[in-house]
């Protein structure tokens, strides 16, 4: 019994060691997002609270905590309260399998990439539950849109993951990173990286695919009826998901914790920092896209997902597998 508690204690300690930095960095990237956005539009952005406005997100969080939580009278109360909790939980549990370095991962499971994929496909429930439970037109329309959108783009993300797995021969995320020691997958699979990036934008409901919360048509989509801390949880979950997608892109295509070239000034920097650099790089790309591209029309979004991305990535699966077979490069024999 004693050993059981000591194991439990170390696990809880490890989880806290992972979760607290993730939550802090979520708050920080909200600030970064707004700064990059402002930079593109030649504004200053949040620059008042703290040095460079760094504490803006903390101030916002404080504001949300002290605001009243309003639950609409005609809503389905239990589901309404559960929805932001589901979003937040799902956004955080997927960090368990992200490898920050060799042997520096909370749960080194065999099917890590499937776990990530499964959890990100569950993410749609937070939105549907929120939209349905609000019992109001705008949230419901937002939820329906978002469900269709996320299911569509998941398909192409799945096929892209198959491309990477063909080159690795394992579903373990650490194995995926170690397979990129000589060549990052972004070079042979560059078209897949581009499609993954765009699908990740759609999967996280970021502009130009932010139709579920298109403020011009749907007020704020599924978040319309939420206020106070519950709104903040949706918001945090959304940004944690964005960070997670960036981490997934970094692990699948940009070599995870590996340094770009294995020579002196680069390989002394420890692995976790490289992963963080890569996540930040991808996130700044996300922010730049948000600042520059106009929103898609809904039929264009569906056409892009089903008629362009899906056939192209399927074609690329055939291409990759035949290439690997022809040059006898298939892994895991």
């Amino acid at each position: 019994m004693d050993s059981y508690f000591s194991i439990l204690f170390t696990e809880v300690y490890k989880i806290l060691f992972l979760l607290v930095p993730v939550l802090v960095s979520v708050a920080m990237i909200v600030w970064l997002d707004r700064r990059v956005w402002a930079f593109v539009q030649k504004r200053r952005g949040p620059n008042v609270v703290g040095p460079f406005g760094l504490f803006q997100s903390l101030a916002d969080a404080l504001k949300y905590i002290f605001k009243e939580i309003i639950i609409p009278a005609s809503s389905n109360k239990l589901v309404f309260v559960l929805a932001p909790v589901v979003t937040m939980t799902l956004a955080l549990i997927s960090w368990a399998v992200i490898p920050f370095g060799e042997d520096f991962v909370l749960a080194d499971i065999n099917v890590g990439i499937l776990y990530l994929f499964a959890v990100s496909s569950l993410g749609v429930y937070g939105i549907i539950m929120g939209g349905w439970a609000s019992n109001s037109k705008y949230p419901f329309l937002g939820a329906i849109r978002s469900a269709a959108q996320m299911v569509s783009y998941e398909v192409s993300i799945g096929v892209i993951i198959i491309n990477v797995l063909l080159c690795v021969g394992s579903l373990n995320l650490s194995d995926i990173v170690m397979a990129q020691q000589n060549l990052w997958f972004v070079i042979p699979l560059f078209p897949m990286f581009v499609i993954f990036f765009i699908s990740a934008l759609a999967e996280t409901n970021r502009p130009p695919f932010d139709l579920p919360e298109a403020e011009a048509e749907l007020v704020a989509g599924y978040q319309t009826e939420y206020s106070g801390m519950m709104y903040a949880m949706f918001w945090l979950g959304e940004y944690a998901n964005i960070l997670l997608m960036c981490a997934m892109g970094a692990v699948l295509f940009l070599g995870g914790w590996l340094s770009p070239i294995d020579i002196f000034p680069f390989n002394v920097i420890p692995g976790p920092f490289w992963l963080i650099f890569k996540i930040l790089f991808l996130f700044i790309l996300f922010a730049l896209v948000k600042a520059t591209v106009p929103r898609y029309r809904y039929d264009q979004l569906m056409k892009l997902g089903w008629k362009i991305f899906l056939p192209f990535s399927l074609f690329y699966v055939v291409l990759t597998s035949s290439f690997l077979l022809y040059f006898d490069l298939l892994p895991g024999k």
């Binding site: 065999n110 499964a118 549907i128 469900a147 299911v151 998941e154």
Partner: protein, 211 residues
């Protein structure tokens, strides 16, 4: 080992309770939510017996896609409240209860036959030609069997699914008149010559466009 069995009982209890709640709950959307909970706890049970690939596929396919579509349909049909008419004493002339009883009776007998077969032929598991080892991951062992011994069955089941999908699309597809479609190729390949047309306009008459 105690922790293992405690978790097993927790997950199976959640699975059974939510399975009952799927049929009992009055709100259809709640039923679907309970169905999702059921799927999740079943996949947790899969993971607990070491079949992590099956558990994850269960999550991705059933929870991530099938249940979303269920929820979609149920929300769209707006059948939110059944108002307890299924179990009410007032018989509304519905025929769903006898049919439901018939179906569940058939499933019950099927289960009895399957489990009975297990009891009378205890070496059923050993007669499988697959040798299960702990050395290789179960993703790899499933792949080894699925793509070699059972490749035909696997392909045929894929074909059946494809046919079902195409059939559903053909059945529901309706050609609508007067829908304006956008063609990117047409838009991009438009030149100045075809886009701009210089016309001599007659006085007091104007020009007729779209002739």
């Amino acid at each position: 080992m105690i922790a293992h069995s405690v978790f097993f009982y927790i997950f199976s209890l959640i699975a059974i309770i939510s399975a009952v709640m799927v049929t009992v709950s009055k709100n259809t959307v709640h039923s679907v939510f309970f169905l999702i909970l059921d799927f999740i706890s079943i996949s947790c049970l899969f993971i607990m017996i070491g079949a992590e690939f099956l558990g994850m596929i269960m999550l991705i396919v059933y929870v991530g896609a099938v249940a979303v579509l269920f929820l979609f349909v149920v929300m769209m049909l707006n059948v939110a409240e059944q108002k307890g008419q299924w179990f009410s004493s007032r018989w509304d002339g519905g025929t769903h209860i006898p049919i439901g009883l018939l179906v569940s009776l058939i499933i019950f007998f099927e289960l009895i036959i399957v489990i009975g077969g297990w009891k009378y032929k205890p070496d059923l598991l050993n007669s499988l030609s697959i040798n299960i080892s702990n050395e290789i991951t179960n993703t790899r062992s499933i792949g080894n069997v699925l793509y070699t011994d059972y490749i035909l069955l696997f392909q045929i089941s894929g074909m059946i699914l494809l046919v079902a999908m195409i059939g559903a699309i053909v059945l529901t597809y309706r050609e609508r008149a007067g829908v304006k479609r956008q063609s990117y190729v047409k838009q991009i390949s438009r030149e100045r010559d075809e886009g701009v047309d210089l016309v001599e306009a007659e006085r007091n008459k104007g020009v007729k466009i779209d002739a």
